[in-house]
Amino acid sequence: MSQLAIKSLTKSYGAFKVFDGLSLAADAGEIVVIFGGSGTGKTILLRLIAGVEEPTGGVIEIGGHDVSDIAPEHRGVGMAFQNFALFPHMSAAENIATPLRAVGAAEDKVKAGVARVAKLLKIDHVLNHAPRELSNGQKQRTALARALAAEPQILLLDDPLRNVDAKLRFEMRLELPRLLRQSGATVLYVTQDYKEAMALADRIAVLANGQFVQMATPEDIYMRPATLGVARLFGDPSINTADTAIVADGSGVHAAVGGTRVPLADSYRSLAGRDVIFGVRPESVELGSSGLEAEVMAVTPLNERTVLLLQSPSGWEFLASLPSSAATIPEAGSRVRASFAAAGTHIFDRQTGERLDG
């Protein structure tokens, strides 16, 4: 039995449909990341589960029970908000204590509970501070501590790292999985940072146009994106694309990309003649002595990698991402030859954007 189940959930505001039949089941202790761009309704989904907003249709079950008629305070969920939503007139300790006090826990239980999560989140030294005296990072940890304090079965985290600086975000990204596992809760984690999604998720549910377009492990999402849209959302730099058609002849199966023939696996033969979009991830573009001829338009370092903007003689622009430690990084203005590693190559239907497998 799933700890949290959402069945054909719909939500509309007047004529505007936010969700058009969402379904999701999460097991106890599982971390599911809800991933999507801004305006896809990720936060609304969490609010519906928390019960502070009502769905238009569909069912939400927690621990096997329909919670439609249960008020938010009785649903047993904990939630951390993107804007922290700390109570400004209470100290950090009192903020964290609220869920414990709400159930009428004895004073020593409250103290112990606050101390436990404060230690876990390394904010024991600022417990007496008012929210306005806390740094952004401490606010964010206080908000997390408050969500965790009552050991809820369901933990809803609404982009909790959105408003902290890059360094802290990175630290928290490494720290969170352990924290979340320890809590034992089923976690729904909302983010629009694909790295956060891949780093934290057991499963990622990609939300677009009111539906989950793909729900899978980070590996599947990255290696086998269900649609071109999903492929574009994951990866930095984003996947290169080219409109083409699959051709099968005596010499094998191939597609014309950037004015050259890119060989494809024989399994794509059945798709011959189809109008498709060819996609290749920048890190799967390999520079060597053979393949598509291209001019290096610009060299832009990206952390420990170097991104090259390349242009084929036919005018196709594409990116290659090489480790900065690579033996030779070509200079802007030089000419290179590029080939595409099969693992990072994907074919999508040009009409529907859906992934095509040979």
Partner: protein, 372 residues
């Protein structure tokens, strides 16, 4: 295409609560055609500097010259500077296209040439399809591209770009960075880019001026900043994920140089890995701050032992957090590696990847075995 010289420039804001020294004795030279990034967190003085160059702010001391001509006392319009604003500042009653051509109106370019420039710029920035729309009806990212286009389409001695790409759609960012860098090179534009995002600075700039507390910390190429940070601040500020830093006790003998970090782990190297001058220096320095970049910390055989606390694959790299005697250190691998949480690992770092800093002042002592 002019050289910009900033000489001993101060910016002091007077207020009732006391004076704020926002920029302190800044010296900076931007060569003709060079792309320079002013990089720092909020309040570091980068925006004050930009506003002084543009003329929105008076210099308290010092001089700014552009192409040999002192400009710091001129009104903004007379400085020959084009600027893209962080808040876009597009004219609301004009369409995106009109906004972009507005700056060309006063130039003596023929009409056809003006139109062509706007069209080419719009295509480069992928806004050709919204030229007839009004700023309020397009997204933040599109407004930002239009604002950038409006600045770049002009002929100016200097281009100032204030956080020019912060709102860009992630899917477009990498391609646009490449195209803009190509454009600036092609047109030999002297450019100053102000940003808090090191990724953007690294991608676009020839040289980066790292600022903190109103003081220029280091002015160098992106590669140099990474390889030879001048102090602990630049060392930890530049690089994602940030550098692992330990305090370490040094023991230097004729044969070996060893660093014992908190928790007792000892990193030991043959003396030949360090230059003689460095060994001499270390013999007098019992305690240092030791910096190791996550990319240099290699999983495998090595003296650093710990337990994996997180192993995260991000598609094109893997981040591994390891608990070493109570401290979390981070190792990054370009490949996909998978180590279960709780498993024991060993880490190694080569002498050429060590960054040594003075424990008290934070100034660099050595990088990769030679004195800084």
């Amino acid at each position: 295409m002019a050289e910009l010289d900033i000489t001993r420039v101060d910016k002091i804001y007077h207020s009732r609560k006391g004076d704020v020294h926002a920029v302190k004795a800044l010296d900076l030279v931007v060569k003709p055609g060079e792309i320079v990034a002013l990089l720092g967190s909020s309040g570091c003085g980068k925006t004050s500097t930009l506003r002084m160059i543009a003329g929105f702010e008076e210099v308290s001391n010092g001089a700014i010259t552009l192409g040999g001509k002192a400009i710091h006392a001129l009104p903004p319009a007379a400085r020959g500077v084009a600027m893209a604003f962080e808040a876009y500042s597009l004219y609301p009653p004009l369409t995106i296209g009109e906004n972009m051509s507005f700056a060309l109106k006063s130039s003596r370019l023929p009409q056809a040439e003006q139109e062509k420039r706007v069209k080419d710029m719009a295509e480069m920035l992928e806004i050709a399809d919204i030229l007839n729309k009004y700023p309020s009806s397009v997204s933040g990212g599109q407004q930002q591209r239009a604002s950038l286009g409006r600045a770049l389409v002009r002929d100016a001695g200097l281009y100032l770009l204030d956080e020019p790409m912060g709102q860009l759609e992630p899917q477009l960012r990498a391609v646009l960075r490449g195209r803009i860098k190509h454009y600036l090179r092609e047109h030999n534009c002297t450019t100053i880019l102000v940003t808090h995002d090191q990724t953007e600075a690294n991608a676009l700039a020839d040289r980066i001026a790292v600022m903190e507390g109103g003081v220029l910390q280091q002015y160098a190429t992106p590669a140099e900043l990474k390889a030879r940070p001048a102090n602990l601040f630049t060392g930890t500020f530049i690089g994602e994920p940030p550098m692992n830093v330990f305090t370490a006790d040094v023991s230097a003998t004729a044969e070996r140089v060893s660093f014992t970090v908190e928790g007792g782990t000892t990193l030991s190297y043959p003396a030949s890995d360090m230059s003689e001058a460095l060994r001499g220096r270390l013999a007098k320095t019992p305690r240092i701050a030791l910096g190791i970049r996550p990319h240099a910390l290699q999983l495998g055989e090595g003296p650093v032992k710990g337990k994996v606390t997180a192993c995260q694959w991000l598609g094109d790299q893997t981040h591994v957090a390891v608990d070493v005697a109570g401290r979390t250190v981070v190792s990054v691998s370009q490949e996909r590696v998978s180590r279960p949480t709780g498993s024991d690992v060993s880490l190694n770092v080569a002498a050429r990847d060590l960054h040594l800093f003075d424990a008290a002042s934070g100034n660099a002592i050595a990088h990769g075995g030679t004195l800084a």
